[in-house]
Every structure is written in structure tokens, then in C-alpha cells.
């Protein structure tokens, strides 16, 4: 499955529920790449002084991975495994998006080693890179 996706309720693909949902829309889902979009509303848990801070950005990347995996499993009618963040490496944050911002997040699977999926994630705001990292996610069925 590739390209633009219909605007489904993203919670069908991820285990998180409000107020912990940090992605709104799965924009693109390829075999090894996914893109989500997220609007940072005023009641977001990770806003500090109107800035969407580090935990929110990392959670946003992790939930983009979850949405990609959840989407592909749901397409095959297979129960979606629960994923856990095992490690975050080389986290770089250029700026914190402000309340009301729309961010677009891309994850790409770089390696799969046993149950561990290694991804590169990046968060952009208006086309500008604001955050990137490598993340290891462990999936357990």
C-alpha cells in the first residue's frame, strides 16, 4: 500500500488513547516509511510555556512508528502487536513547536533485528526540520 491514505481515525492503528494521542492523521504508509500529521492543541499534555517539549516530540515519533505498523497489520487483519520504545539515540532538537502548530513526522525503518525495529525519525514544521533521532522499538504480539 502506498501513497495518500483516506483520513481514517488514527486510533484504530495505535494503542494510545486521549490525552496520550500525539498523532492525528496517517498521511502516508509504505512498507518501510510512514508520515503522520499532528496539530498541537492548547490542552496538550506536553506543552510547557506554550512549547511542545522533548517528551512530546519523542512520543510523536514513536506513535508514527506505531501507526505505520498498526496500519499494515490491520490491512492483513492481523492483531496489532504492542510496541515499546527500547532506546532513543542521536536525538537532536532544533526548536520546540508552539501551541497551535502543525507538525509532520516521517519514520523510516532502517534495520529489523529479531523483535527490534530500528527507525530514523524526523519531525518537520512548515518544511523545516525541528527534531530527529534514531529509535529502537520492540514489538510484542
Amino acid at each position: 500500500m502506498a501513497g495518500q491514505l483516506p483520513n481514517h481515525d488514527i486510533t484504530q492503528y495505535i494503542p494510545q488513547r486521549p490525552p496520550m494521542v500525539m498523532v492525528d492523521e496517517l498521511v502516508q504508509a509504505e512498507a518501510n516509511l510512514a508520515v503522520t500529521r499532528f496539530t498541537i492543541l492548547p490542552d496538550n499534555l506536553f506543552l510547557v510555556s506554550n512549547q511542545f517539549r522533548e517528551p512530546g516530540l519523542v512520543e510523536n515519533i514513536a506513535q508514527t512508528v506505531a501507526a505505520m505498523v498498526g496500519y499494515h497489520y490491520s490491512q492483513k487483519n492481523i492483531p496489532v502487536p504492542i510496541g515499546y520504545i527500547a532506546a532513543v539515540k542521536d536525538l537532536e532538537i532544533g526548536s520546540f513547536p508552539a501551541e497551535g502548530s502543525v507538525i509532520e513526522t516521517t519514520v523510516m525503518i532502517t534495520h529489523q533485528v529479531m523483535d527490534v525495529t530500528v527507525v530514523r525519525g524526523k519531525v518537520e514544521q512548515s518544511g523545516k526540520l525541528i527534531c530527529s533521532c534514531e529509535m529502537k522499538v520492540v514489538a510484542k504480539a
Binding site: 527500547a86 532506546a87 534495520h111 533485528v113 529479531m114 527490534v116 529502537k136
Partner: protein, 85 residues
């Protein structure tokens, strides 16, 4: 790729990525104990090998690797197989 080139490449990423002191890199030294590898470090090691040498590492391959020399030999074999296929 020559064996010496493989050894130098491995030693380089062990120092740079895994912060191993160069003096501790000895062909007969125990790889796991020297690198103080935990399970996530193994994943990093697999990622670095695959990225640098272009072959897929099977987790079970590590069972037979005890020393640095075993590690060099393993990578050399895999690189050789990749070239011959």
C-alpha cells in the same frame, strides 16, 4: 575487501561507536566482555555491521563468536560470500 581493511574498519567503529579503548582491542580478547555489550548494544553492533559491510546478520551467527579474531573472521567470511554470489 582485504582482511586488513576489514579489521581496520571494525576497529574504527568499535572505537568510534562503542567507545572501546584502542589498547583493549586484541584479537584474542573476549569481544562481549571487552565491549560490555548488553542486548541493545548487540542490536547496535548488528546495525553497524550491516551498514558498513552490506550483508544481513543473523542473530544466531553471534553464538560462535567469542573473540575479536572470531568476529573479524566472521565478517571476512560474510563479505567473501556476498562477493561470490
Amino acid at each position: 575487501m582485504e582482511k586488513q581493511e576489514i579489521v581496520e574498519k571494525i576497529n574504527h567503529f568499535l572505537v568510534e561507536e562503542f567507545e572501546v579503548e584502542p589498547v583493549k582491542i586484541n584479537p584474542e580478547a573476549n569481544l562481549r566482555e571487552t565491549l560490555e555489550l548488553d542486548s541493545l548494544d548487540y542490536i547496535d553492533l548488528v546495525v553497524v555491521i550491516e551498514s558498513n559491510f552490506g550483508f544481513k546478520v543473523k542473530p544466531e551467527d553471534f553464538i560462535s563468536i567469542a573473540t575479536f579474531r572470531d568476529f573479524y573472521d566472521y565478517v571476512e567470511r560474510q563479505v567473501g560470500e556476498k562477493v561470490s554470489t
